[in-house]
């Protein structure tokens, strides 16, 4: 391990350039540490986004050496190639400035996929009881852990080719709700995620699953949606 890391950081918006910085290497240093060092010691005009620093909030995803990653939990030693790092904003989203992307389209698609829970109980009603071992609850045991970081969306080829495609995260969210026995908007949700811009656009390249920092499988969630939607379509309910 050399004492200095050569870092190229994207500056600008859609058009811009990579700017070089030399950053001292430290033990257990994360990519977010590197970006923070640059902003605090070398160039305070660098824009980037982070919040929790511990892999919970999903704010700090960036493209590191060509791959989307959560930077707060990505150690430099795991991703640096020849003591070099190239840090760019996420793909498939408009760049606001430097490493900050506009996540509007990403989260709008969660809403389009009917990613909001809709129950029928009121707060005066008794609690709904969902058994942890019930089939529906077990099916979404992984999927509910999504932190909405956008890594899967940024890594998805279909989103690049077909911008109206809802994308892995929104569909994964919809999958968790289709298995929520308390939710009463199932038919509407299945229609929202069906068809050419929905789950059926997925080619199962599995880049989302490969890159998900939480080791979730949006591909599996999408496959589940495909089955549910097909069954509904055959019954004339889509």
């Amino acid at each position: 391990m050399s004492s200095t890391l050569r870092v190229r950081v994207w500056r600008g918006q859609e058009s811009g350039r990579f700017e070089p910085f030399d950053v001292p290497r430290l033990e257990s240093q994360t990519v977010l540490d590197v970006v923070t060092y640059i902003q605090r010691r070398l160039d305070p005009t660098l824009s980037y986004r982070f919040a929790c620093r511990v892999g919970m909030c999903g704010s700090c995803a960036m493209t590191v050496n060509g791959k989307a990653r959560w930077t707060c939990r990505t150690h430099v030693s795991k991703v640096a190639e020849d003591d070099c790092l190239e840090i760019a904003p996420l793909h498939n989203l408009p760049v606001v400035k430097d490493l900050v992307t506009d996540m509007t389209a990403f989260f709008d698609k969660w809403a389009e996929a009917k990613g909001q829970f809709r129950g029928e109980r009121r707060r005066t009603d008794d609690f709904a009881r969902v058994k942890p071992e019930s089939r529906e609850r077990v099916l979404v045991d992984e999927a509910i852990e999504c932190i909405g970081c956008g890594v899967c969306y940024s890594s998805c080829d279909v989103v690049t080719w077909k911008p109206e495609y809802l994308g892995p995260a929104a569909l994964n969210r919809a999958w968790t709700l289709t298995n929520d026995v308390r939710d009463v908007a199932q038919r509407e949700r299945l229609s929202a995620v069906a068809g050419d811009a929905g789950c059926h656009a997925c080619h199962t390249h599995m880049s989302c699953t490969e890159r998900c920092p939480k080791f979730l499988s949006p591909s599996k969630s999408i496959a589940g949606l495909k089955r549910l939607v097909l069954a509904a379509a055959l019954k004339g309910k889509v």
Binding site: L93, K162, E164, L230
Partner: protein
């Protein structure tokens, strides 16, 4: 080291498909189902070709075996129908994703392609089985 440059903005757009959601889903299912049939058909077809070539069968000898044979008629009939279903649906996706051709014009073009494949294939099957 790779050099990713940030991609252009990807505005949300409505999907201008002329097909209903249900039709889109059923097309998807038809493509998967036809793929399963084709997997078997292609295998049988390749084995048949290799058998014919390795045994030095002439065209006349092949035709004498296929003419009037109901089994081959059904097999190649199913093969042609599967291709006519599978190929246009797949091409519809490829064209939508690569050259952004969407909507009714694409759907009609693919329907025409499917019919054309079915007619050309049916002619071939007719020639081999009926003569």
């Amino acid at each position: 080291m790779s050099s990713p440059s940030p991609t252009a903005p990807l505005p949300l757009r409505p999907h201008p498909s002329s097909l209903s959601l249900r039709a889109q889903v059923l097309l998807w299912a038809a493509q998967r189902a036809s793929a399963a049939v084709l997997a078997i058909c292609v295998l049988v077809h390749l084995i048949t070709i290799i058998y014919a070539v390795r045994n030095g069968l002439t065209a006349a000898e092949i035709l004498s075996r296929t003419t009037g044979n109901t089994g081959w008629a059904i097999f190649y009939g199913v093969f042609v129908v599967s291709v006519a279903v599978h190929a246009p649906i797949g091409l519809r996706n490829v064209l939508a994703e690569t050259i952004e051709w969407r909507g009714r014009s694409l759907d009609i073009a693919m329907l025409v392609l499917g019919i054309a494949i079915a007619i050309w294939g049916a002619r071939a099957v007719y020639a081999v089985v009926v003569g």
